[in-house]
């Protein structure tokens, strides 16, 4: 662990994350014509926190209150059987629901795309959105499915053995995105924002 720490490099600091989210909020407003009938759904844990931050900015900029919530994807994962049974995250849909609305899924790191695929399946079971878009703080590449993000905080070229870890004030006490040099550890701790 201490080894990995030593090789960690901050690629985004607090102000960078702040600016990236501000830009994403503006882009959502622009692309959805004032965030009309938009619902922001974050993927727990850190995606949900980011969704709330983006919603806050949208309401600051244009005074519109965007419904915001969280959608847990654990039960829809395609790798459930590869690891011990895991605890569920929180699903919290806004009372407006998702039917007929533009849902913007929010996640911290976009990597293989499998989490997003699971989120699309989960979404399918809670309603029928008019459209689904994807916002991510970091796109680190290496997609394994035909999935792309509509709003990206930072495109971060990585090698597959590297790890990206997102820290957020509300959860971790500080804002930062770290790139951790590969140590050939098996991928673990995805739910902790480590991808």
């Amino acid at each position: 662990m201490s080894d990995a720490r030593n090789q960690a490099r901050a690629v985004l600091e607090g102000p960078d994350i702040h600016r990236a989210l501000t830009r994403i909020a503006h882009e959502i407003l622009e692309r959805t014509k004032g965030a009309e009938r938009v619902v922001l759904l974050g993927i727990p844990t850190r995606g949900a926190t980011l969704a709330f931050r983006i919603a806050e900015r949208i309401s600051q900029f244009e005074g519109v209150k965007v419904p915001v919530g969280a959608i847990d994807i654990t039960m829809y994962r395609d790798d459930l059987r590869l690891r011990p049974a895991r605890p569920l995250g929180r699903t919290d849909l806004p009372p407006e629901g998702v039917d007929g609305r533009t849902v913007v899924l929010v996640d911290d790191v976009l990597f293989s795309g499998r989490t997003v695929r699971a989120a699309l399946d989960a979404l399918n079971d809670v309603g029928r959105p008019r459209a689904v878009q994807l916002a991510t703080l970091v796109d680190r590449g290496h997609r394994e499915l035909p999935i792309r993000a509509d709003y990206v905080g930072k495109n971060l070229p990585t090698s597959k053995s590297e790890k990206v870890k997102v820290y957020l004030e509300e959860i971790d006490g500080r804002d930062a995105v770290l790139l951790i040099k590969g140590d050939d550890r098996p991928a673990a701790g995805e739910a902790n924002g480590e991808r």
Partner: protein
């Protein structure tokens, strides 16, 4: 490796809280229009019921189906069991069918434990003799936590036929693990011999216990097991241990009343109390499905279970 749920005592505090928290999330699924989750697709759950129990079997069946597992119901009546097949041979048959979990209800205490030696999948005890019924205890704890906001420090009284009750034993073990203070209230004839080794207090006087209780759990008088004279008459029992309107009035304002069902209205609980808004009896049934989903999910969804005990 932990893989079975045979006794409520198999669960550590963390295990039990994980089941309750998982159930809390799954309860939200039960509120939406599509109640099905794909999580256990391709897994097979066998309900092996040697005793009649409509409510528990249906509850397990609904739980497994909502998680997309394949469910095979096997009831002793009309099966090869009535032709004399032994539990072991039945187990080997299930094994050959590739059961990932066997939910067993059996009249003999210890049958699930035996079964667990013979099958590769997870065994879930759905009630064995007068021994245990761990998922009932979990759903009771879940119902309690939802109503009272906590379990730690709650004063819970369990009243009635403790001797024949698997619900009482599982509840005592689980509630003790979760930090509640349990008092058993029953006539001396309806308490098991070993009860002084259980982590709870004993009382013969319901009226002394009620005013101090946060939760009162009434047990069913198991008329089908009343082959000896445990009490003089039904009327006498009802007068001394039944929860009627007057006793109910002596509970403090936030206290709740529970019953695992099926009830003998007018015997251990009066109809008025059973139907009061402070009775959780109906929500206990709904919570049963959710809690059993949580148990099946935590036992079957991963490469290894997250809860349970070893043999």
């Amino acid at each position: 490796m932990k893989r079975h749920l045979i006794s409520a005592g198999d669960l550590t505090r963390d295990d039990a809280l994980l089941v309750l928290d998982t159930a809390e999330e799954l309860a939200r699924v039960s509120e939406r229009s599509i109640k099905k989750l794909p999580t256990l697709r391709g897994r097979t759950v066998v309900n092996l019921f040697y005793e009649d129990s409509t409510r528990t079997r249906i509850s397990f069946e609904a739980a497994a189906k909502r998680l997309s597992a394949d469910v095979i119901n096997f009831s002793a009546k009309g099966s090869s069991v009535s032709k004399g097949e032994s539990l072991k041979d039945t187990a080997l048959t299930l094994e050959a069918m590739g059961a990932d979990a066997v939910v067993i209800r059996h009249g003999a205490s210890g049958a699930p434990h035996r079964l667990a030696n013979w099958v590769r999948g997870s065994v879930v005890n759905a009630g064995d003799g007068t021994h245990e019924h761990p998922t009932q205890a979990l759903l009771d704890a879940f119902s309690m936590r939802r109503r009272m906001g906590r379990i730690d420090g709650l004063k819970v009284s369990i009243v009635g036929d403790v001797l024949h009750s698997r619900v009482a034993r599982s509840n005592v073990l689980l509630l003790h693990t979760l930090g509640a203070e349990v008092t058993l209230v029953a006539p001396p004839t309806l308490l098991p011999v070993s009860v002084d080794t259980w982590p709870c207090q004993i009382s013969y006087d319901i009226d002394a216990v009620l005013p101090k209780s946060d939760v009162v759990m009434m047990l069913r008088v198991q008329l089908e097991r009343m082959n000896a004279a445990y009490f003089p008459s039904a009327r006498e029992y009802s007068r001394r241990y039944g929860l009627d309107r007057e006793r109910f009035a002596r509970l403090h304002d936030d206290a709740i009343v529970m019953h695992p069902g099926p009830m003998n209205r007018g015997m251990e609980i009066s109809a008025e109390v059973a139907d009061s808004p402070r009775s959780t009896i109906v929500e206990q049934v709904a919570n049963g499905v959710t809690v059993r989903m949580a148990v099946l999910y935590l036992l079957l969804s991963g490469s290894e279970p997250a809860i349970g005990g070893d043999l």
